[in-house]
């Protein structure tokens, strides 16, 4: 059943918070979604619709209350925490909105972190890989700066490089340009598209920025915890500017 072209498959995924308590709420109601290798996808939707929740499930930071989540042909429901952590480290890279980097480390060390965690590579190999990734996002001259001494846009680019360190199948970005000015946001976005083209890494990017969303191959819209029907089946006018 492992389809080489499918990176991720969700079937009827539900997520409730505060399960078992009086304030239990279901946030996601039966999500079906399939991401194919090398896709560059925008995840949009109104605030509170469940985008971050969905991203956390896909990123294996949280588990669905119901439904099936298959990553690279492995049904994650059958994995224990250790295996989940391992799969997360190997298959998924994250780029968050704020405070993406670990401030105690330099840009280069931040990029090296996932490799160091894995503890399976010789030092010079880690160094070389981190350098080439930083070069890919155009930050070679900043490699020895502490994370805090970089601009917001530079930090996001370092985060992208770090997300790529383990050469994951999928990069998840939750509003990666959310607190950047338009120009920096553009640069970061360009960078992600560049990486997508070069490495064939699948990107799933949460964004409120419709201009950016339109530059993606596909837009998945979440409304009230459900995936809205594809844009093509509605009028383009449905996509209002926020």
């Amino acid at each position: 059943m492992a389809d080489q072209q499918t990176v991720l498959k969700l079937e009827g995924v539900c997520k409730s918070y505060n399960v078992g308590s009086p304030i239990e709420v279901e946030v996601l109601h039966g999500i079906d979604l399939e991401l194919r290798r090398g896709e560059f996808i925008a995840l949009t939707g109104p605030s509170g619709s469940g985008k971050s929740t969905l991203l956390n499930l896909i990123g294996l930071l949280d588990r669905p209350t119901k439904g099936r989540l298959v990553i690279e042909g492995r049904d994650t429901g059958e994995l224990d925490d250790t295996a989940i952590t391992k799969l997360r480290g190997h298959s998924i890279g994250f780029v968050f909105q704020y405070h993406c980097l670990i401030s105690a480390f330099t840009a280069l060390e931040n990029v090296m972190m996932p490799l160091l965690v894995e503890n399976a590579f010789p030092n010079d190999e880690m160094n070389a890989r981190a350098r080439s990734l930083l070069a890919e996002v155009g930050l070679t001259q900043w490699e020895n700066n502490l994370a805090n001494n970089l601009s917001g846009g530079q930090q996001q680019r370092v985060a992208i490089a770090r997300g790529l360190a383990m050469n994951p199948a999928l990069i998840l970005a939750d509003e990666p340009t959310g607190n950047l000015d338009t120009k920096s946001a553009d640069t970061v976005f360009d960078m992600m598209q560049h990486v997508n083209k070069i490495n064939g890494t699948t990107f799933l990017i949460v964004t409120h920025n419709l201009d950016l969303a339109r530059r993606c191959q596909r837009i998945v819209e979440v409304v009230d915890g459900r995936v809205a029907p594809p844009l093509a089946s509605r009028g383009a006018g449905m996509l209002k500017t926020s």
Binding site: L61, T82, F94, F96, C100, I102, S103, A104, L116
Partner: protein
């Protein structure tokens, strides 16, 4: 699989380095605690070692003495009658140990006994012109006795020679009587016997009272003066294991039937004092260790909260709970280690300085300072372990952080 990988070390060290103020303060706190412990322990063990050395070079480990004379009432009440006898304790004469030569040979064969030295002690009067002083006359066989009490080490003028015409006297006695090396001294025993002896050596036992009273003569001379020809009043022993002295004394006593006192028994007060010191020392150590542990724990608790977002990011990039746990355990251990290395150094240096300035009334050093490397090593290792233990609770809470919550902040 090796759990303590470079990741844990690098991350722990970086986290400590980044939280500079917290790290400096807690390392200082640990250092102060460890310095106090090192200072106190080294001082106490120096004092004890010094006392032991003094005791064991001026006293035998075990001394055999003849039994007390007791009065045996001759009248016994017949059946049905009660006799209320008032038994007076008889005056104690100087008596010899029966068959002491046999005992000497017998004990000399025991593997745990090193030296057997028969001695005669008696009180006497030392007279020089108009001056006289009462003294304790100890008749010795220098070959063996000097192995127990190292008189030759204490000689300040002359030499430790005791032929039958010689006497060794203490510094204060020589001063009191106005005599020096080579002078003659009349020694009169309690029974009236009297000899003229030549001062062949003057010693300083480091104790005024002992220097005033103690004198040493040849065994034969003392036997004559005490009217105890062929006899001895005590047999002094040294043993291989000084702490087994009491047990050996008991065995000697049952083997020979003669009362044997070990240095442990005669210095019982010292051992009580040592035990009391040691237990208060242990209590102080315990409380210092506890406050160090709580200090480290509280710093790490705050650090976990400050770093929850870092922890979340680390978890998102595939760091396991175990790795996060070890990062924080390691921080605790490193804080303990760094603090204790500084503290051990400061404590040792502080004690050396204190020792250099503290003087006895006469300007000599109060006691020889002993700084055992093992004390420092133990202190550092224990502090590092305490740090790891103290980090347990914060490290567990860090490992259990829900990454989703941690990242959202």
């Amino acid at each position: 699989m090796n759990h303590w990988t470079p990741f844990e070390w690098i991350t722990a060290i970086r986290f400590l380095k980044e939280g500079r103020m917290q790290t400096i303060f807690i390392v200082t706190a640990v250092a102060i605690g460890v310095a106090v412990i090192v200072f106190m322990s080294a001082m106490l063990s120096s004092l004890q070692a010094n006392f032991l050395k003094r005791v064991l070079t001026t006293q035998p480990h075990i001394q055999l003495i003849p039994p007390n004379e007791i009065a045996r009432p001759l009248r016994h009440g017949g059946p049905g009658s009660i006799v209320a006898a008032i038994v007076q304790r008889p005056a104690q004469r100087i008596r010899s140990i029966d068959q002491w030569q046999k005992i000497r040979t017998q004990l000399g064969e025991w593997p745990d006994i090193v030296t057997v030295s028969p001695t005669v002690s008696a009180s006497a009067l030392a007279v020089r012109g108009d001056a006289s002083r009462s003294i304790t006359l100890t008749g010795i066989d220098p070959d063996v006795y000097f192995k127990i009490v190292r008189i030759p080490d204490y000689i300040v003028s002359g030499q430790a020679r005791v032929s039958t015409e010689d006497i060794l006297v203490g510094l204060e006695l020589a001063k009191d009587l106005g005599v020096t090396l080579g002078d003659k001294l009349t020694v009169t025993a309690a029974n009236g016997a009297s000899r003229v002896l030549t001062i062949s050596g003057i010693f300083d036992l480091g104790n005024k009272g002992a220097n005033q009273r103690s004198t040493f003569v040849a065994l034969r001379t003392a036997q004559t003066l005490a009217n105890l020809v062929g006899g001895v009043t005590s047999i002094d022993l040294t043993v291989t294991d000084i702490y087994a002295a009491e047990a050996i004394a008991r065995r000697v006593q049952s083997a020979t039937g003669i009362e044997a006192d070990s240095w442990i028994k005669t210095n019982a007060q010292f051992f009580t004092a040592v035990a009391a010191q040691q237990s208060s020392n242990t209590l102080i150590r315990l409380f210092v260790a506890l406050s160090v542990a709580f200090g480290i724990a509280s710093v790490l608790v705050v650090s976990v909260i400050q770093r929850s977002k870092d922890i979340g990011i680390l978890r998102a990039m595939g760091t396991s709970q175990g790795q996060i746990l070890r990062v924080f355990l390691l921080q605790g251990g490193l804080l303990g280690l760094a603090g204790s290395i500084v503290g051990a150094f400061v404590g040792g240096a502080g004690l050396s300085v204190w020792h250099a300035y503290m003087r006895q009334a006469d300007g000599s050093e109060i006691f020889p300072l002993i700084l055992e490397p093992s004390l420092f090593v133990t202190a550092v290792l224990l502090a590092a372990l305490t740090g790891v233990a103290a980090a347990a609770v914060p490290a567990l809470s860090a490992a259990r952080l829900d990454p989703v919550v941690a990242i959202r902040g």
